[in-house]
């Protein structure tokens, strides 16, 4: 397990210098999966022999001087929405339980070219339509900090596998917060990049205009390195942006602490303060104070209003129903009940409401563009509540009992960056008294992931949260 406690930043030089073999690393990873899976259920498919063959190939290449870069020989996992050639891709659903694609998602191909080693496909909330990863067909994914709790979702298995070190990074997707929410609840780092930054070709969709693909990892450096490896134009994805991809790791130490001096950071406490869990409130206040103490100017902004939260979901409901319409017609009984309930609602959204929601989006774009003329970054708590028990029928949010499977609670803050498409990272900022992770989020301008990573890295380096490991990692 010792090797897996290290980050990609620490392991890559060992692999490049031939001190460490990818075979040894992948073997340890597969043993770690076997050790942790009974407790956390982070994987739907594990690729034992295939991963070891790929590791042996990586070792041969490196021994012959053909080192491909920092991801060469690094074991990773992928949310089971990413199509993988010849490997079943289930979307966490009985409906696709035997689905074996004959092609790779574009991002999987990029990681193959980078020499990264796929060790398995992660468990998730069925078809990504939920935030708890309580999967009725493959079993619930469990939070390694307390296995009676949800890990968040929908990329629950991705966050859990990174948290327990049964993969060194994972690919997730984010439609309303599905990378950042499990990252926050499991104490790891995850970024939803700018819309169009990472190709979604070959990723089973939930909502086309809200879906984003992105990585989760143990540290900001690792997350930046993976994003640099997977981002970039893909002519096969009509939403892909044809813009240069920098090496994001170069931004991290570019100016040191001086980068924060003079930076203006926006916060919007009015949006969430009446429903924010007190321990998350306390942790986030300390984050704000840290940025202020280190030279940033923090200013309150009056946007957005939570009034628009419900209507923003019109886009998601209509698009998700449209994708699933034929499955609902032919095999509706194979869905988990809460996912089916959410999907069916989408058929009742009239076209004019969907178009009005997209007009709201245009208006929202203008508001954020104006705000970012006054600020550099926007920060917030990632979620309004920490992890809660698996199977809990209702949870308290702002004094009200809500069913988190039906009423969006965990996505209240994160969904803002899906609606506007701006990049947003979640990283750990503490633990509750019950030792459940708390995360905060940094949102930047479109395609300005470098500045987002820079601020996140400076915070991370100044705080020991990264070194805390969950009991299942002991």
């Amino acid at each position: 397990m010792t090797l897996l406690r290290k980050t990609i930043q620490e392991l890559a030089p060992l692999i490049q210098s031939k001190w460490l073999s990818p075979v040894e690393l992948v073997q340890e990873c597969l043993e770690r999966i076997e050790e942790t899976e009974p407790a956390v259920n982070a994987y739907i498919t594990v690729l034992g022999e295939q991963a070891l063959r790929a590791a042996a190939q990586a070792e041969r290449e490196i021994m012959h001087g053909q080192y491909r870069g920092v991801l060469h020989g690094i074991p990773y996992s992928a949310k089971d929405l990413y199509c993988t050639k010849g490997i079943r891709t289930t979307a966490g659903s009985q409906i696709l339980s035997a689905h074996v694609p004959d092609y790779n998602a574009a991002v999987i191909d990029r990681l193959n070219q980078a020499g990264a080693i796929l060790v398995g496909k992660n468990n998730l909330h069925e078809f990504a339509y939920g935030t708890t990863s309580e999967n009725t067909y493959f079993g619930p994914c469990r939070n390694p900090w307390n296995t009676g709790m949800i890990p968040g979702g929908s990329s629950g298995g991705s966050a859990v596998s990174v948290s327990v070190s049964s993969s060194l990074f994972s690919l997730g997707t984010d439609t309303g917060g599905s990378i950042r929410i499990p990252a926050a609840l499991c104490g790891v780092t995850g970024i939803k990049p700018t819309y169009g930054r990472v190709s979604k070709r070959g990723v089973i969709p939930l909502s086309w205009s809200l879906d984003h693909a992105g990585p989760l990892a143990k540290s900001v450096w690792d997350t930046a390195a993976v994003l640099a490896g997977i981002a970039g134009y893909d002519p096969g994805d009509p939403t892909s942006a044809n813009l240069h991809v920098p090496d994001y790791t170069h931004f991290l130490e570019a100016e040191g602490q001086a980068a924060l001096k003079g930076m203006t950071i926006g916060i919007c406490p009015d949006y969430y303060s009446d429903i924010l869990h007190p321990e998350i409130d306390q942790a986030f206040r300390q984050v704000v104070r840290w940025f202020e103490d280190n030279g940033a100017r923090v200013r309150e902004i009056a946007y957005p209003s939570r009034e628009t939260f419900g209507v923003r979901s019109i886009v998601l409901m209509a698009e998700a129903y449209t994708y699933h319409a034929s499955y609902l017609e032919t095999c509706a009984e194979q869905y988990g009940s809460s996912v089916r309930r959410r999907l069916e609602k989408g058929q009742y959204i009239p076209a004019s409401a969907y178009i009005d929601a997209q007009r709201l989006r245009q208006q929202d774009q203008r508001e954020w563009a104006a705000i970012y003329r006054e600020i550099d970054l926007f920060i917030s708590p990632t979620t309004v509540v920490p992890a809660f028990p698996i199977g809990e029928s209702t949870i308290a949010v702002g004094g009200e009992a809500v069913d988190p499977r039906i009423q969006a609670t965990l996505t209240i803050i994160t969904s803002l960056a899906n609606f506007n498409g701006y990049p947003a990272i979640s990283l750990p900022c503490g633990l509750t008294a019950g030792r459940l992770p708390v995360g905060f989020q940094i949102q930047g301008r479109p395609f300005d992931e470098g500045r987002v990573f820079q601020a996140a890295y400076l915070y991370e380096q100044a705080h020991p949260h990264r070194s805390a490991v969950p009991p299942e990692s002991a």
């Binding site: 169009g196 939403t239 929601a357």
Partner: protein, 67 residues
């Protein structure tokens, strides 16, 4: 909007059969959808007539803002 309206949409527009699982949730959906659509209508009344539905954003828009 009531459950019967939704039932007609499912069977008449989508030509699907209503199964008991879906039928049981129609009154709840009617209330929830109605609330969301009413809110959207209230908000859209304040839109200027030239406000178009946009893509998430366009690269050209980003380049313009950077310049």
């Amino acid at each position: 909007m009531d459950a019967n309206t939704l039932r007609c949409i499912t069977t008449g527009i989508y030509e699907r059969k209503i199964d008991p699982v879906l039928e049981a949730y129609l009154p709840q959906y009617a209330g929830e959808i109605s609330a969301v659509l009413n809110k959207m209508r209230d908000i859209s009344r304040e839109f200027s007539s030239d406000l178009e539905p946009g893509p998430v954003f366009s690269v050209q828009q980003i380049n313009d803002e950077r310049n």
